[in-house]
Amino acid sequence: MDTTPILNVKNLKKHFSVKGQTVKAVDGISLHIMPGETLSLVGESGCGKSTAGRAILRLIDLTEGEVELNGQRIDQMSARQLRPLRRHIQPVFQDPYSSLNPRMRLRDILAEPIRNFGLSPNAADIESRIRQLLEMVRLPADAAGRLPHEFSGGQRQRISIARALAAEPSLIVCDEAVSALDVSVKAQIVNLLQDLQKELGLALLFISHDLAIVEHMTHRVAVMYLGRIVEIASRERIFGSPQHPYTLALLSSVPVPEPGRTIDRIVLKGDVPSPMNPPKGCHFHTRCPFALDRCKTDEPKLRSVAPGQHVACHLHDLPPSENPIAQRTAVSEVSS
């Protein structure tokens, strides 16, 4: 197995300045993605997951940190140096309506990356590649001559995926790519993404707030809260044995479509604090049902608690008998 990650992010920070105050949208996250692997970035709105995605795509400049694409540092590159490398990492955005230039025909939308990256030698070749791409995302071949507004939301998302594939990337960043879609269409796009991943060996950075979809799609999960990763682990560990109280609360909050089932739910008090003025110590201590005194002052570091599972929480310094997290069973096993 290939051991160089496609993407390796170290201590990524993105700070914005809003009216003289600093918003630490992303405050030092590290992650990596192996070829063909799906890593999901989950969290609630404002946690910085989309900003992280945009910084990794270099659509915005980062404040600090390193981004390695196929072993090559891209965080400091100039726009000109970066342009040919962009081929390897392509985005798919949330809103199917604003993701496509309303005045360009599908053919031109798909031809743009092919031409820019010089992936096809001549016009006939481009045309056949476009036909192939449309087939891959299961759109009819005659779609090439049409404008985006002639398509439904789900179809447009297919077009966005086709545009990403046109660059022949090794990694696709899906920023809430299926969130705006209805259930029945969402299933179509999720299946499409999974099929393409298998077929092409794509790696995915899957940014989403929809935990059920994430569980269905992913290999590993990173949970973000207020700009930091609080837990990162394999799918089995996150959904089977979450070790951060926030992960636990998040999972238990999802309403389950099984009437009559009662959930041992942790309802968090209050709201997510403002990222302009995050709490000291552990960002989560204001809402954490198990917070200790030291959580208010000491910032917990990510550390390994099980093979492939890293958690930033002081509770794991306690002996297992006193650790309330270890006492809890996984959410999915609780049913009446």
Partner: protein, 301 residues
């Protein structure tokens, strides 16, 4: 709460539409039905354009020919719109005057759109220029356009070129501001991010993704600039800071009739009516285009 069996409506399910089906019409008729203001505005404008272009062949005489014997005559068969205080035929002068208004309107609209577009694009894409360009535009915009044009005309000879230059300078800031705000909002669109990720260079992004989407609001703005330029020209000429007296424009004709407007109102009436109709035509066209091109205005249902 247990779900008790509910008495459910068991009558016939009524069908049929609550609105009469829309009448389908095709081609030209459909255009008029859908955008009556565009149709009316362009028809009016077309007529005036024809009058202006073919002025020499429409039973006119030399608009500057003095005829001291026929000074200040009311409309008659000989002089359809009457004569002014120098005995010049008002019908001929009014028709030739259309040329000035239309020329100023169109040329200012085109020129200020081009310059405004370039300035707006520069300040929207090159960050450090933004502050400078926009401060200058703010400065220009804080001088009311008529005063700005007056100040410029006071320094220059009364010629049609100078009128064009003055009014264009007065109109540029509004266009530049509009283009800049359109550029800034377009830059936030995910499809621009998509294009960047697809390796598109900035000039190509402007050409392919920004310009085509900025053109619609720019055209609408250009029609309003055209109307505003026509009004400014008329005002400048009316107060004596516009075109030279030798060149008949609606503003100068009215200016000539100022002193005697109470006893000879027709000297002002005819150019005023033509001027108002022309501007009305341009405004109707602009409103129609705005409604047709602005997706926000399109009804959601």
């Amino acid at each position: 709460m247990s779900a008790t069996p509910t008495p459910i409506y068991s009558g016939p399910i009524e069908q049929g539409d609550l609105f009469p089906a829309a009448r389908k019409s095709r081609g030209f008729l459909a255009l008029i039905r859908r955008h009556p203001t565009i149709a009316l505005g362009s028809a009016l404008l077309f007529v005036i354009l024809i009058l202006a272009i073919f002025a020499p062949y429409l039973w006119t005489v030399d608009p500057n020919a003095l005829s001291p014997a026929h000074r200040g005559r009311p409309p008659s068969l000989r002089n359809w719109f009457g004569t002014d205080l120098f005995g010049r035929d008002l019908y001929s002068r009014v028709l030739y005057g259309a040329r000035v208004s239309l020329a100023i309107g169109f040329s200012v609209a085109v020129m200020s759109s081009i310059v405004g577009l370039v300035l707006g694009l520069i300040s929207g894409f090159i960050r450090w220029t933004d502050a400078i360009i926009m401060r200058v535009m703010d400065g220009l915009m804080s001088i009311p356009p008529i005063l700005l044009a007056i100040a410029l005309m006071a320094l220059m000879q009364g010629s049609i070129i100078n009128v064009f230059v003055s009014i264009t300078i007065a109109e540029i800031p509004r266009v530049a501001r509009l283009v800049r705000s359109v550029v800034l909002s377009l830059r936030e669109q995910p499809y621009i991010d998509g294009a960047i990720a697809a390796g598109t260079t900035t000039p190509m992004i402007i050409w392919r993704h920004v310009l085509p989407n900025a053109i619609a609001p720019l055209i609408v703005q250009a029609t309003y600039v055209c109307a505003s330029a026509m009004i400014l020209e008329a005002i400048l000429s009316f107060i004596g800071a516009g075109t030279p007296p030798s060149l008949p424009s609606w503003g100068t004709i009215m200016s000539d009739g100022r002193a005697v407007w109470q006893i000879k109102p027709y000297i002002i009436l005819f150019p005023a009516a033509f001027l108002s109709l022309t501007i009305l035509a341009v405004n109707l066209l602009g409103d129609g285009l705005r409604d047709a091109l602005d997706p926000r205005m399109a009804k959601r249902f």
